[in-house]
């Protein structure tokens, strides 16, 4: 990992928006090669990972994750001219959506931002996603992981509906399923037949990385 862009990692990790924006502008202006552009993106990924660590350690809170995701989005826009047609390399694929009947998406969007930063290709189905839409997308992109997010206690039941639909379509065994959101728990995970649950975006991302690296 190149030390050349360490200051970018640090700026993002410390949520220093001005420093990050300046560093990225300078890096882009220097006319980086395709490999260097990938290094810059990796520097951002490491910065976001560090943000996730600080969140797990109890230093950062969800408000900081939202801000980090916002800064990162701005950063990626600045880098867009440098990133080749092939895009950046991906470590895995995620299909994610809010559970049927659930219109909330802030937590899901934080998770998506962190997953993208970690190098996943993310297919976001949006909110209130019917089971057959999950099935359709999984058939189409053949992801490693399916994520179902929910804020309402109501969604705990509909998460089960999605997983059952995947089973019926013969797709369940080909993916790992993670359920996420405030009301999920181990008991719910067992009840609906998911592989993991997460109430914490950072640990959720870690689990997903473990799944694709294995």
């Amino acid at each position: 990992m190149s030390v050349k862009y360490q200051h970018i990692t640090e700026a993002l990790a410390q949520l220093e928006e001005e420093a990050l924006v300046q560093a990225l502008k300078d890096a882009v202006e220097a006319g980086p090669s395709a490999e260097e552009a990938q290094d810059i993106v990796n520097a951002c990924t490491m910065g976001m990972e560090r943000v996730g660590d600080l969140f797990e350690e109890g230093e950062y809170f969800v408000g900081d994750l939202i801000y980090a995701a916002d800064i990162l989005k701005g950063g990626m826009e600045l880098l867009a001219p440098c990133i080749g047609a092939g895009g950046v390399s991906k470590i895995g694929k995620l299909v994610i959506g809010s559970a049927p009947g659930d219109l909330h998406d802030i937590g899901k969007n934080i998770f998506i931002a962190m997953m993208e930063a970690a190098g996943f290709e993310v297919h976001d189905l949006g909110i209130d996603v019917a089971p057959d839409k999950f099935v359709e997308k999984v058939k189409e992109v053949q992801p490693d992981i399916v994520g179902i997010s929910g804020l309402l206690t109501l969604s705990l039941d509909t998460m089960g509906d999605v997983i059952n639909a995947l089973k019926q379509a013969g797709l369940r065994d080909g993916v790992k399923v993670m359920i996420g959101g405030n009301p999920v728990s181990e008991a719910v995970q067992k009840r609906v037949g998911a592989d993991a649950h997460s109430t914490n975006a950072a640990t959720g991302v870690k689990q997903c990385k473990e799944w694709v690296v294995a």
């Binding site: 928006e17 939202i66 309402l152 206690t153 728990s185 008991a187």
Partner: protein, 393 residues
Amino acid sequence: MSDDVQKLLQERVERITTTIKIEEPDRVPITSMFETWAGHYSGYSVTDVAFNYDKLAESFYKVAEEFEVDTLPPPLGVRCGPIYTTLGTKEFSFFNKDGVPHASIQHMEGKDIMSVEEYPELIKDPYKFIIEKQLPRRYKALDQAPDKKAEALGKACFIYEKYIANAVGKLCGTLETKYGIPALFKSSTEMPLDALMDYFRGFRGVSVDIRRNKEQVIEACEALYPVMLRRAVQNLPSGPFPFIFIPLHIPTYLKPKDFETFYYPTFKRMIEDLISFDLTPALFMEGNWEPYYDYINELPKKKVVGLIEHGDFKKTKDNIGKTITIWGGMPIDVINNSTKEEAIDYAKKLIDDLAPGGGYIFGCDKSLLAPNDANPENLKAVFKFVKEYGVYK
């Protein structure tokens, strides 16, 4: 009111009044936030209870008859359906376009209600900003020519009056006179930063505003302060309990340093002002409040109730149990995913850890909304157990 009912009422009032002084009453009081779940339990839909105040009342009387509760909050979380439909809300939905009720009220965060450039306007005159910009952006019927807007507001006044008289006044009155169950809250409000988030800038907005517009966020909280305090204290009904319900939304998403800078000043002031009026703030401390317990301990002692959602409850009692009355602790996750015996064991441990010294009210960790939010048999069994086991010797 019959003598029996009068006696029950007095016992319950005394039980809770003693508890919140952090002294030991005769037994641990029991209550929970029953919202649309009460409707589901009676076979009513969300639409039924939000639009038909008789069905709403019936649902609550059934809860009073079947669950061992000492008090009940008014059904604030059910919301007044007709206000939303008459004003044309974009944020709350009780039924879909085919009229089929949702199983739980859908709440979408308002979009584009206030842009970051509008902070100076809000700060200068919040009431004006609300009338001229915020309300029309949130409610379609208020985004019309002045005559039509005035008409919509007039209608809202009539709807609101009937709602207060029936869904709150008559319902709580009957709970008292027929069941001896006093109403728990007199009114509700929000802290200024939560109001700024919920009704103006949104969660994402406030999360970045506290970095990029620090001073303005602080000034906006100051500007909204009299508005939110007035909301708490205007037109209070009579009744034995002085509770003002305040759900706390943003704190646990902020790191303590940000909490201290942006949330705490108006939070503490609101609590102190309400106490100075002999009112008791009943805070719904959503999320995990452990990182902020030092701030809680700076509040006036024995004057605040906290409905606590998450955390190590024994640690909580040790930490803040002499400052505030703790309410809650019984996870609906356990009520729903355990056997009756396991749920009762869990409740027993809660009583053992939290009851000593008083200052504990037993209840669920979350408001009961969706049909499966609480397994009724387990919930009944647990409340019944606490009524017997929670006796102070």
